[in-house]
Structure formats: structure tokens, C-alpha cells
């Protein structure tokens, strides 16, 4: 079916093509730019185009595709880098060189690669939708192959194949493929949702110890510019104890993506395997088209859910969700919708909740548990956390890691504000760490928090009377808490300290708190403060 372009404003194109469906994918113009139908009227449809519309002319042809915007899910996604439409950036580079031209096409999956299928089902058996019928090795992971169609298996062949060949067929003649398309805006089904209980170890002391995250949980990381959102996100992406990491650079810097790419290519994960082997990157830099930025989150999320459905622990990181919300706002404005708060569409909160709720621990259709956790960076304008995106995220997120501009300016990184951040996943995480890592974990944490809070109050006093005016025990407290801030909460992401296992975290904080405790004792015994402060080495020696 062919139609014609009627009007063009930015990325919004209205077309005359009867019979279109809402959210259908269409090809627009001579260059066949990808677009999605967002509104239907009696005599025309409104299409959002995912590519730059510069040069698009009136009356150019438009063709329908009869399918929704979808991603291709199958083996071979790991280790690759995609744009917001799941086009492989390496393929785009091979076709067009260093710049991304208009109307290029590249597939998400590669048909060049050989795979070896081990069937999990026999001919004659019934196959439910989403049930795995075979497995294959993708890197070190066991990749379960499933099909969204149900039926009785007629034949299924083991052994070497490529993705463009069917590996079997159902009795009704439907070929069984090792990959399938999935509409990105539709959550992938599961049997039921479970409650998260296992901690997700990030290797960041401040997070693991004070504000733990659970597998299946959602954390948001809001911070003004220069507070280290990206560095923190990337550190978590490198070291988190999960099977698969999906990282979306949504509307961020190109150089940052380049840095991430070259760094990930060289690094190894905790098990000594190349980091890229467990990673999928989706890059929509800030100068790529806005509409593709909106869809990039969903593209990435569908791939993350796909690996979750194999019973794996998946971590989804987005940097930054504010750019996604702004893309939504731009699209909404170009559709001339009535704006809500700060110009964002009124459906911002529900759209956001809809996608954040795709996180969680699930019982997959195959009956195994799998988890999808999220860490989402938020970039509030002017570092003002009362803005709509931060607030909408707060309503659905379970952990809140506030990055503080004042801390960042003092070069305290990660600049997580310990007074205002929180985690609703405290209890199961504390229980886990207390049982498996250190028997006094919960107690140490309580002490540490108290010390930091007391320091906060003392600092106000010290501002007025000066440090000299404080009592000795208060000066000791301030000194100890400064050490905790400097040696425990600060963590340099560019040195070997970048990953700190929970056992070491516990040892470090225990040392610090012991120093404070024995210091207090020695003060009581009449030792002068100056000798006590000479160093933790002395203190542990005498203790």
C-alpha cells in the first residue's frame, strides 16, 4: 500500500494512506525513513519519523508495513552495539563510513554466524508460547531458544544452523525459527512476578553498605551536571554481579559512548571473561534523532526482558531517563498536545511507571526465576529535584541515590548524599549480608549512619564556634567521620579500588568504627586527643 506525504513539521509527518493501524511501522519518503503511526484521523495519519527529516519533500511516497515497531530477538545480541532502532552500529559504519546517513538499514541479528542447537523438545511434543524448545551456547551463557507461537512440533533438527534457516516446524506447517520479532512497547509475558530478595552487589561501598539494591529492584540516580552520574552508572555496569548488562546511552555524549566502548572492549568481568561478552549497548547520542531516542529505551528493554526470560539476572542501565522524558516532551509538543507540568505531557508519569514496572523478579514461562533490575540516571534541570521527571521516578523506584553538587565540587566521588538517599530494599539485603558476609553488618551500618548524622549536626556548630571551640570527643567524632567519608565512602572509579567486594567493605568500615570506639575509650582514660589522632595504626596497636 502506498500513500503520500501531506505535511511535515520537524519529525512529525502527516500522510494520506488509508488502512494504517496505530503504532504501525511505516516507511516515509524516497529514502524510506522509518516511522511510527502515532495518531489516526479521518483523512490522514500522523507519523513520527525516527530519522532526520531534512530534505524530505511534500508528496513523497509512504508505505505501510503491517507490523508494529519491533526488535529482533535471538542469539548474537550480546557484545553488539545498536542505535535506538536496533540497527547494528558496526553494520552502519561498514555501509556508510563514520557518519550515520539517512535511510540506512541494518538488522539487529547477524545471519553470518553459525550456531549449534541442542533440542530440548522432541517431535510430537506440545510447545507452549514462549517455552524454550532448544538451547545453544552464546559465549559462556546457555541461550534458550523459544517461539512466541504455540503448537505441536513436527520436526526439530539438532546441530549447526544460521539464523536465516528454520530449525524445525510445527504440525500446522509454521516454521520454527531461532529468532522472533517482538513489539517493543509490549512487555514480554511471564507466569507471575515474585518479590525481590537477593542483593545486587555493585562493588560500590556506599551503595552496598548504606543503600543496597536488590536483583529485580529499581534505583534512580538523579544529579546535576558534573556530579558523576555517568561514571557511577558505568562503574555499576562493569562490576555488578549479574549475567547480562544492557546499557542505554540515551541522549548523552558521543565521546562518552566512545570511551565506554573502548574501555569495555579491554576490560574483563569478575570471572575473567571479556566484559563485552555479557553486555549489550544501545547508543542514541544527543545529536541523533529525538524520536529514536524515545524508542531506544524500549528497544533496549525488550532485549533485556528476552535474556531475563532465559532465567538470567539482567541489569538495565539508562543514562539518562531525563533525555527520554524530554524526547517525549518534544514529540508531544510537535503533536500539539496540551502540556502538563513544565511542558511535559500529562501521561509522563504513567508512561514512566509502565516501563519501570517491567523490572522485577519473575517466574518465566519456562518456570525458572529470572530478574531484571534497573539503574536509571536522572538529569534534573538546575539540579532541582522537585522537577516532574525526578518526582515521577520517585513514585515507582525502590532506591534513590541522590548525587550532590556540593560533594562533587569537593571532589567527593561517588557524590552520593548519605543524608537524603534511601533504599527501600534495606531489610532483605541486610539480612543477606549479615548472614553471608559479616555477622555485625547491620550493626556496623547503624553505627556508621549515626556517626555521619552526628557529624552533620556538629558541623553546623563548628561553623559558628570554629573547630577549636568543640569538645574533644566531638572533635574525635568529626575526625573519624571525615576519615570514613574520605577513605570509605569515596571510591575512585579509575583505580583498582573501583570494585570493592562486600567482605572488604565490612572489614574497612569495621576498622574505622573500631578506631572511633577505642578513641573514645582512650579519651575517657585521660589520653590527650592529639596522640589519639596520630593515626589508626597507633590506635589498633594499643587497642
Amino acid at each position: 500500500m502506498k500513500g503520500r506525504i501531506r505535511s511535515i513539521t520537524g519529525a512529525t509527518v502527516s500522510v494520506e494512506l488509508p488502512g494504517l493501524q496505530l503504532n504501525e511501522r511505516v516507511l516515509v519518503g524516497e529514502n524510506q525513513l522509518a516511522g511510527e503511526v502515532v495518531r489516526l484521523e479521518t483523512d490522514h495519519a500522523v507519523v513520527q519519523v525516527f530519522e532526520d527529516t531534512l530534505g524530505l519533500a511534500m508528496h513523497e511516497p509512504v508505505s505501510a508495513s503491517r507490523s508494529a515497531l519491533a526488535v529482533q530477538l535471538g542469539p548474537g545480541l550480546l557484545g553488539r552495539v545498536f542505535d535506538g532502532l536496533q540497527r547494528s552500529l558496526a553494520d552502519l559504519q561498514a555501509q556508510a563510513g563514520p557518519w550515520i546517513d539517512k535511510g540506512l538499514r541494518a538488522s539487529g541479528l547477524s545471519v553470518q554466524r553459525d550456531w549449534v542447537l541442542t533440542p530440548l523438545k522432541q517431535p510430537g511434543e506440545l510447545l507452549a508460547a514462549g517455552e524454550p524448545f532448544g538451547s545453544l551456547a552464546e559465549g559462556h551463557l546457555c541461550h534458550l531458544v523459544s517461539s512466541p507461537v504455540a503448537g505441536r512440533i513436527a520436526r526439530l533438527s539438532a546441530g549447526r544452523f544460521r539464523l536465516d534457516q528454520p530449525v524445525g516446524a510445527l504440525t500446522d506447517g509454521t516454521p520454527l525459527l531461532a529468532w522472533h520479532p517482538w513489539p517493543v512497547r509490549q512487555p514480554r509475558p511471564c507466569r507471575r512476578k515474585l518479590t525481590p530478595t537477593q542483593p545486587l552487589v555493585t562493588g560500590q561501598r556506599c551503595l552496598d553498605f548504606l543503600f543496597p539494591l536488590l536483583k529485580g529492584g529499581v534505583a534512580i540516580v538523579p544529579g546535576g551536571f558534573g556530579t558523576g552520574k555517568t561514571v557511577l552508572e558505568q562503574a555499576i555496569a562493569k562490576f555488578a554481579d549479574v549475567d547480562v548488562v544492557v546499557y542505554v546511552g540515551c541522549g548523552e555524549r558521543g565521546n562518552e559512548m566512545a570511551g565506554l566502548l573502548s574501555e569495555f572492549a579491554e576490560l574483563e568481568d569478575a570471572a575473567g571473561r571479556p566484559l563485552m561478552e555479557r553486555t549489550i549497548l544501545v547508543a542514541n547520542t544527543s545529536n541523533m534523532p529525538v524520536v529514536a531516542r524515545e524508542s531506544s529505551i524500549f528497544t533496549a528493554l525488550s532485549m533485556a526482558e528476552y535474556y531475563r526470560d532465559m532465567g538470567l539476572d539482567v541489569l538495565f542501565l539508562a543514562d539518562s531517563i531525563s533525555r527520554w522524558a524530554e524526547a517525549l516532551r518534544e514529540i508531544s509538543a510537535s503533536l500539539e498536545e496540551l502540556p502538563g507540568e513544565e511542558g511535559y505531557p500529562t501521561y509522563l508519569a504513567s508512561r514512566l511507571a509502565g516501563f519501570i514496572e517491567r523490572a522485577g523478579v519473575v517466574e518465566t514461562l519456562a518456570g525458572t526465576p529470572g530478574s531484571l533490575s534497573m539503574v536509571l540516571a536522572v538529569s534534573p534541570p538546575g539540579a532541582d529535584f522537585s522537577e516532574p521527571v525526578t518526582q515521577a521516578c520517585l513514585r515507582v523506584a525502590g532506591a534513590f541515590y541522590l548525587l550532590d553538587t556540593a560533594l562533587a565540587q569537593r571532589r567527593h566521588f561517588p557524590a552520593i548524599n548519605w543524608a537524603q538517599s534511601f533504599s527501600l530494599y534495606d531489610e532483605p539485603a541486610l539480612e543477606y549480608f549479615t548472614q553471608t558476609v559479616h555477622p555485625r553488618w547491620a550493626e556496623l551500618r547503624q553505627h556508621c549512619r549515626q556517626l555521619l548524622l552526628e557529624e552533620e549536626a556538629l558541623r553546623d556548630v563548628a561553623e559558628v564556634v570554629g573547630k577549636e571551640g568543640l569538645q574533644d570527643r566531638d572533635r574525635l567524632l568529626m575526625q573519624c567521620s571525615e576519615q570514613i567519608r574520605r577513605d570509605f565512602l569515596c571510591q575512585n572509579s579509575f583505580t583498582e579500588d573501583a570494585f570493592c567486594p562486600p567482605s572488604r567493605t565490612a572489614t574497612l568500615i569495621e576498622e574505622q568504627l573500631n578506631f572511633y570506639r577505642t578513641g573514645l575509650q582512650r579519651l575517657q582514660d585521660g589520653e590527650p586527643l592529639e596522640t589519639i589522632l596520630k593515626g589508626p595504626a597507633d590506635a589498633t596497636g594499643s587497642a
Binding site: 531534512l54 519533500a57 563514520p98 558534573g226 558521543g254 544527543s286 509538543a333 534541570p381
Partner: protein, 441 residues
């Protein structure tokens, strides 16, 4: 491709910098048009929007004097392109890339489109080598790296123009490689224009200048930085130059964007700026970078005046989210006679740590910079304290730090019109820190 350019006299409305034309039967988004005014003036414009037969144009010139029935509009069937060649070096252009130095138009080697295309992140080469600006406050503590975009946040009344001139004069690629500055001036007053003409005339470095004056059409300011970046990309990625693009002042660009947005009756966002300000700025700044498979680099150093000295104003705020750090100028330093008045505490170059150290600057660069930063930060904090409790209330050790902070400002940050090489800068840090150690000892 149309067989002939076609012209219309069917203007429906003229609204500020915008023209509506009716009964158009072929037009494309971004297409160039040429507009013939009743008095014979000719200027260019661009298609912004197509609504059935009606086309909305943005005009790069003054619309005063146009009329609905006497104006002729010709559609040229091409997006905006500029003629570039190596002969562009040393030339001065207007905002829409017409030569204004009384020399003939260059013979084009290429006609690239000014809009550019996004760089494939896989093709990018991570920035790792410095560009020496000759200013200690930048080179030592906030090093600028090839392929980086690092804005200067200024306040009204500070000598930002002089700072820009100094950078134009002093910036070099390390090792003296092929280096060009591309200077785009947006909304220059007559005085500033004279000043920069004189600066350019004496410039030893190769340059291309694009100049839009304060009394010229504001809309042209939307075009000028794009032309500058297009020339820069050509010089960098076709001929392998390291190109430093200096744009002053980006606030004028953003205000022009706001002017067009409101004329189009778009819903205004914060402070009246359009909701797409972030994407639009990113489409400029993200053109900075390096490529894996070829030499050359585009580095951007845009100047931005913060309205009301407010860093949370939407323009500096969004800029900070796109760029890789910022250099912040301080009113207080300027009042104390320090030039360049760069406040190194809130300034930050995010890419610095990959551009310095062994093989790039010197092995001890990071260590020296960190120590100087810490010492100075502490000194500044003490200065605040001293204002409350008085110098007498401080310990001797603290008074020493106070004096050192003063010396850092007077001897390190302040350098007047001298150029300091990176080695001289690092030696100076070493000397200052040495002094501090001796007086402690």
C-alpha cells in the same frame, strides 16, 4: 530532482523572520530559497514546515520592506550547502557564509551540507591529546583535549572577548602539528568587531572567521555556527588539521532560536526557550570529536554569557549537560585585576585525565594539578573563614595557606598577555608547591 527552480509570488503572511507561501507544489524541509525584495535586495531563507500547499520559510535577513504581492520567492531544490576549499583559510565570512573581506568567492572543492550528520559512536576516537591554549588556568588544571567541547561560562561585564582573543592567538596543537582556529562571532557590537578584526589581522595561527554583527538579522546566528562547524569538519577530516572552533556568544544563538520559536507560536519552555533547546544545542556541540580511521580533530570552545550570573539558567544548565566540563569566569577575580579571571574551583575538564600524563604532557601533571587544586581550595575556604573570625583567629599554618592561595591567583592564574607553554605551566606549579613545602619545613 526538479528540472527547474520555480518561483512564487503567492505570499500569505509575513511574521517577523517568517514568511508563509501558498499554493506551493514542490518543496522539501530545509530547502534553500532565495527571496527577492521589492527594492531589489536579495537574501536567502530556508523551508521550516510544509502544511499541504502552504510552506513556512525562515528568512536569513531583515524582513522589513517586504510586501505580500511584490516579493518573489525561488525554491532551489537543495538544502543549505557551503563552498569549502583550503582557500577558505584566512578568509572572513558573514553568518550565511558570504565573504565580507572584499576578496573573491573561493573555488569550491566540496559543497557539504551545513546540517552535518551524527557521528557513529563506533567510529569515534576517544579524545586523548591536549590542545595547548597557552593559559595556565586551562592547560594545568582544566586541560582542553582534542575532540572535546569545553564552554566558557562568563558574566556580563567580564573581559570574555579579550580571553577569546588570547586563546585565538595562543592556542597550538602540541608538537606544532597542522592547526587552525575557526572563529564564529554571533551578534558582535561594532566595537567588538573592530577589536576582533584587529586581532585576526595580527594572528599568526591560520584561521577562518565567520562574523555576524549585532545589527544583522538574528536568524543568521542560527546558521553561523553550523557554517563554522562545516568548514571545521572539512579541514579536520578531509585535510587532517586539528581545528579549534571558538564560538562567541552562544547566548545570542539561543536567543535567536527563541525568537524563531515564538514567531512560530510554539509552546515555550523554561524562560521562553523552546523545549528542543537541548537537542538543538547538542546538534552543534556533538559535532566536536575525532575519528578512528583518520587524523584531524574538531574541538569546541564556545563562550556563553550567563544571564544574571546564574549558572542554573536554562542555557548554561543545558549546555553543561552536553559539554565535557566548563570553565567559569569570576567577577571577583576580575575586580582584583586578575586576567584571565578563570575560577578554577567550579571549572572542570571531564576529559582532562585522559589527555595528560606520560607521553602527553608530563608524568607528574595529574599529581601537581591535584595538589594545587587542593591547596587552593583550602586557601579559599580559609579566606571565607578569615572574613568571619579575622586573620588573628587563624592558626599560623592556615595563614600560610591563605598567603599561598593569594600567590596562586597572582602568579599562576594571572598571566596578562604572556603565553605559557605546558612545561612552563607545570614548572610554575612545582615552584609554588615547593615554596609551600619549604615554608612548612
Amino acid at each position: 530532482m526538479r528540472l527547474a527552480a520555480h518561483s512564487y509570488r503567492t505570499l500569505a503572511a509575513i511574521r517577523g523572520p517568517l514568511i508563509f507561501v501558498d499554493q506551493v507544489f514542490a518543496a522539501r524541509i530545509g530547502e534553500q530559497v532565495s527571496i527577492l525584495a521589492p527594492d531589489g535586495r536579495r537574501f536567502s531563507g530556508e523551508v521550516l514546515k510544509i502544511d499541504r500547499q502552504q510552506v513556512l520559510l525562515q528568512v536569513y535577513g531583515e524582513t522589513a520592506g517586504l510586501s505580500l504581492d511584490q516579493t518573489c520567492i525561488t525554491f532551489e531544490d537543495s538544502v543549505k550547502r557551503v563552498p569549502v576549499s583550503l582557500d577558505c583559510l584566512g578568509r572572513i565570512y558573514s553568518g550565511s557564509f558570504e565573504p565580507i573581506d572584499d576578496r573573491p568567492e573561493v573555488v569550491a572543492e566540496h559543497w557539504p551540507a551545513v546540517s552535518g550528520a551524527p557521528m557513529n559512536p563506533l567510529a569515534r576516537h576517544y579524545p586523548r591529546e591536549l590542545i595547548e591554549t597557552g593559559l595556565s588556568a586551562i592547560d594545568g588544571l582544566n586541560t582542553l583535549v582534542k575532540g572535546q567541547k569545553l564552554p566558557i561560562f562568563s558574566c556580563a561585564g567580564l573581559p570574555a572577548g579579550q580571553l577569546v582573543a588570547r586563546i585565538l592567538q595562543h592556542a597550538r596543537a602540541p608538537g606544532g602539528g597542522p592547526f587552525v582556529v575557526v572563529f564564529a562571532a554571533l551578534g558582535l557590537t561594532h566595537n567588538e568587531y573592530e577589536f576582533f578584526r584587529a586581532t585576526l589581522a595580527d594572528l599568526e595561527t591560520q584561521f577562518v572567521a565567520i562574523i555576524n554583527l549585532a545589527n544583522e538579522a538574528a536568524v543568521e546566528r542560527l546558521l553561523a555556527p553550523r557554517c563554522a562547524l562545516t568548514v571545521a569538519e572539512y579541514l579536520a577530516f578531509v585535510h587532517g588539521y586539528d581545528v579549534l572552533v571558538v564560538v562567541a556568544d552562544m547566548l545570542n544563538y539561543c536567543d535567536a532560536l527563541r525568537e524563531v520559536a515564538t514567531a512560530r507560536e510554539e509552546l515555550p519552555g523554561r524562560r521562553g526557550y523552546p523545549g528542543y533547546l537541548y537537542s538543538d544545542l547538542a546538534s552543534l556541540y556533538e559535532r566536536a570529536g575525532r575519528l578512528r580511521d583518520r587524523p584531524g580533530s574538531v574541538t569546541m570552545l564556545p563562550l556563553l554569557t550567563m544571564p544574571d550570573d546564574d549558572i542554573t539558567h536554562p542555557v548554561p544548565d543545558l549546555t553543561g549537560y552536553i559539554t565535557e566540563g566548563q570553565l567559569v569566569l569570576s567577577r571577583e577575580l576580575h575586580q582584583r585585576g586578575i586576567f584571565p579571571p578563570i575560577d578554577v574551583l567550579p571549572s572542570l575538564s571531564r576529559l582532562m585525565q585522559h589527555g595528560i600524563g606520560t607521553g602527553r604532557t608530563r608524568a607528574d601533571h595529574r599529581q601537581l594539578a591535584d595538589r594545587l587544586y587542593r591547596t587552593y581550595a583550602k586557601g579559599r575556604e580559609l579566606r571565607r573563614l578569615a572574613a568571619v573570625v579575622g586573620q588573628e583567629g587563624l592558626l599560623e599554618e592556615d595563614r600560610r595557606l591563605l598567603r599561598l592561595a593569594e600567590r596562586i591567583e597572582q602568579e599562576y592564574i594571572h598571566q596578562g598577555s604572556d603565553r605559557r607553554s605546558i612545561t612552563a605551566t607545570l614548572d610554575l606549579i612545582g615552584k609554588l608547591l615547593q615554596v609551600s613545602r619549604e615554608s612548612t619545613g
